[in-house]
């Protein structure tokens, strides 16, 4: 059992040579190509990631620009709508004022016309009353004058006028 801790220098040297040769050969035939492929893939991934990040930033920038533009357009639209509403309101008020003025004018005109018609009717009535009065007077004159007959005549004439 004491041989367990007794070093065999031959095996030691052989192991060192074997291991270092293995390191060299694996470096030459395996690790270099694997490490190269790994680094290439990592570089590719890093580049892709960077490009994706760049694209994301550009997209964000574009989105911000579009949002700003959209907001501007919305503001403009709101301003124009407000302006249009204001214009519409002004026009409505103008139209209402015009309509009111015209209605008043028409009312005045109608009143004048009614007044004229009334005056005309009154003058016609006045003429008719005068003619009837004259006619009644003539009949009274033609009849024997007493109070009762005169009254009856006047009342008849007035009834005739009323019936007309």
């Amino acid at each position: 059992m004491e041989d367990l801790l007794k070093p065999d220098f031959g095996v030691m040297i052989l192991t060192i040579c074997n291991f270092l040769l293995l390191v060299y050969l694996l470096k030459k035939f395996a690790w270099d190509s694997i490490i190269h492929a790994l680094e290439k893939r990592e570089t590719q991934i890093a580049t892709d990631k960077q490009q994706a990040e760049q694209a994301r930033q550009e997209a964000q920038k574009l989105q911000a620009e579009l949002t700003e533009k959209l907001n501007r357009v919305a503001d403009e639209a709101a301003t124009k709508i407000a302006q249009a509403v204001k214009t519409g309101e002004t026009q409505r008020e103008q139209l209402l004022a015009d309509a009111k003025a015209q209605a008043e004018r028409l009312i005045v005109q109608a009143r004048e016309q009614i007044e004229a018609e009334k005056n005309h009717a009154l003058s016609q009535l006045r003429g008719e009353v005068v003619r009837t009065a004259v006619q009644a007077a003539r009949r009274v004159v033609e009849q024997e004058i007493n109070e009762e007959s005169a009254r009856a005549t006047v009342e008849r004439v007035l009834n005739e006028i009323k019936n007309k």
Binding site: V11, M12, T15, L26
Partner: protein
């Protein structure tokens, strides 16, 4: 053959007794195992590193890339920094080599060469060489030697601290060898002892031996699983400590 001899026969290296011109050739069971493992690793990794078009081939390549990535990002770069990048092939080989040699003992008729102090000492010497090379490469001879004296140490303490630090580094390298050797050896000793329980008890009474068969086999299976874990763990620890020691020489305090 007593129990101790049986265990020693199972654990110890066996010289094949070959010589060339009177010079003894170190062809032993362990050195042959190491050579066989090296050849298998070389062939498999060479095949795996080639460009593949098949799905299984690409899977192997991806696994290998993941392995390299694990060694680089998990062991080398965190301990050695960017300077460790050039040593990546060494560490990739070291971990896989130790792991393969550890696991080779699980294959019937093969031995765990890492239960041989000469093998683990050889690996520790390689790691020691790497640590020395790292220090000399990045700091030069004077800078490397200065690294053994922590900054802020009073001048009168330097003659005391310097040899202590040098011895500490040498011990660290020796401990690398002893740790791996002891762990792999103890696992195998426990395995063989558990098997021997059956025969020892069976020698006393056949019935008792048969009764000891199942508990011993259960423990044997448990210990084999533990050995698998230890094989991975020790490969990892050896590689990690080499990276830490090399890193401490590159990035001196």
């Amino acid at each position: 053959m007593n129990v101790a001899d049986t265990i020693a026969h199972h654990i110890l290296d066996h010289d094949w007794g070959l010589s060339l011109g009177g010079f003894r050739l170190p062809i032993t069971t362990h050195s042959v195992t190491i050579f066989a493992v090296s050849v298998v690793l070389l062939v498999v990794l060479w095949w795996a590193s080639r460009p593949h078009t098949s799905k299984s081939g690409r899977l192997v390549t991806t696994l290998l890339e993941e392995y390299v990535s694990f060694i680089r990002d998990g062991l080398v770069i965190p301990n050695m920094g960017a300077e460790g990048h050039g040593f990546l092939p060494y560490f990739c080989t070291l971990f896989l080599f130790i792991l393969s040699v550890n696991l080779a003992g699980m294959i019937p008729e093969m031995k765990t060469a890492t239960s041989n102090i000469s093998v683990t000492a050889a690996l520790a010497l390689c790691s020691g060489g790497l640590i020395l090379y790292s220090g000399l490469k990045y700091h030069g001879v004077i800078g490397f030697l200065k690294g053994f004296v922590p900054s802020g140490t009073p001048v009168w303490l330097v003659p005391l601290i310097f040899p202590l630090e040098v011895i500490s580094t040498v011990i660290k390298v020796c401990v690398l060898a002893i740790r791996l050797f002891a762990n792999m050896l103890s696992g195998h000793m426990v395995l063989i002892c558990l098997l021997l329980i059956i025969f020892i008890v069976g020698k006393m009474s056949v019935v008792a031996g048969a009764g000891a068969l199942f508990p011993a086999m259960g423990l044997e299976i448990f210990m084999t699983c533990l050995e698998l874990l230890v094989a991975f763990l020790q490969a990892y620890v050896f590689t990690l400590l080499t990276a830490i020691f090399a890193g401490s020489v590159i990035h001196t305090h």
